[in-house]
Symmetry: C2
Subunit: 229 residues, 2 copies
Amino acid sequence: MAAAEPFQRVNRESTAGLITRQLREAIMYGRIAPGAQLSEAALAAQFGVSRGPLREATQRLVQEGLVRAEPNRGLFVKELDDAGIRDLYAARIAVEAAAGRMIIRGRSPEAVAKLRAAYDAMQDAAERGELAELSDADLHFHEVLVDSAGSPRLHRMHQTLMAETRMCLTALQGTYQDPEDQVAEHRRIAEAIAAGDADELVEAVESHMQEALDRLVSDSAAAEAAAST
Amino acid sequence: MAAAEPFQRVNRESTAGLITRQLREAIMYGRIAPGAQLSEAALAAQFGVSRGPLREATQRLVQEGLVRAEPNRGLFVKELDDAGIRDLYAARIAVEAAAGRMIIRGRSPEAVAKLRAAYDAMQDAAERGELAELSDADLHFHEVLVDSAGSPRLHRMHQTLMAETRMCLTALQGTYQDPEDQVAEHRRIAEAIAAGDADELVEAVESHMQEALDRLVSDSAAAEAAAST
DNA sequence: CATCTGCAGATTGTCAACAATCCTGCAAGG
DNA sequence: CCTTGCAGGATTGTTGACAATCTGCAGATG
């Protein structure tokens, strides 16, 4: 009957899904402080729903690792200590390097094109001095990287990691590196993929993460150096 | 006061947690067939709890990816098609190779010892011809591999993947390879880590997964060959 | 005879109330 | 002065019932 799908499929997202998204975003951008307690009753009232769906939403966040649940105590926004940040970036290396390898194996020209477009956007933001936009473009690059691999599982893993990364950046904002370097690091990743050089790719991803890590945990660099000796 | 923690911390698992574990195990070992519908009411009655906690448990499984939820329709045990199996093993390569690299970087002798013990157990089972035990030891080796990396995030990702792997093996049991080869592949992974050879490690993990993949999707090898031409 | 409409059945989604558990502060006893 | 016991308040954990939604079939209609 219908010519060519003039209507998009009605896809009402579940209440729990909506709440999950809103809560996740609030946590990601630091609107809810790390360590803060989440009261079920209060949140349910704010969202205008019962505790049932809200509970479902918070449980999802618990499993994503953004929220910690203490039995009979309450829910608390997870705080990232140095070890947590290190682990986060180690996991990102695992997922993003694997995604890059998959793209190389797939030899997809459009994936390469999308990656180049992503760092072009970064370059653009950098040249205009828009640091917030640059940060968004940065994260977007990594999303494109993993999405282009076409692996549902890697994608799902990465979503959680990106939420935590954003959380991390929000908490410790103010530690910027030279925008040009930032763009160059991403270009190196994209071009390694374009060239099909897996070893160079892994190297590029690892050094990129190390760079970010150095900025994020620099506060306690002294303490860590003491601990490692 | 206490000398050296003579008592382990009392940790009563939540009802939802218990149900989640039981359901996950039932799915993993095929006691609930892939594609089967999970009725909330029926399950709640079986477990002797209300629908609340049960719902919480199923939601966790949905997010782990073992169960698919169709809005207002019901819950269904996820079926793994060839693409899904391929993706599963690609994700395992990502996680396990990364875990191996982390162990190499950490230079932990006890990790190497545990890995050797794990494949010794496989060898033992293989020599006695205990195929079921060998299969368990196989999965155990991979758990040890990821656990030894000491990364909470990799560990969590891997748990889901292992559940799906078990599901996969249960569904397609009967496709065994030569036990000696099976042990040798794991030995190769462990020894690559012991030798600190990251490239050899990645190579070993990839070929191991490819081996498993070839057995699991061999049924439709013809169809796939036709599709790829 | 093919097609559409309306109803029954079953299932999930949501809610408000109840029960159990846990932390806090204070007072009594050694 | 320190430990122990106890109520108060608040929070989560759980329950059973109600409302909304979807599927499949019978019956009506051209």
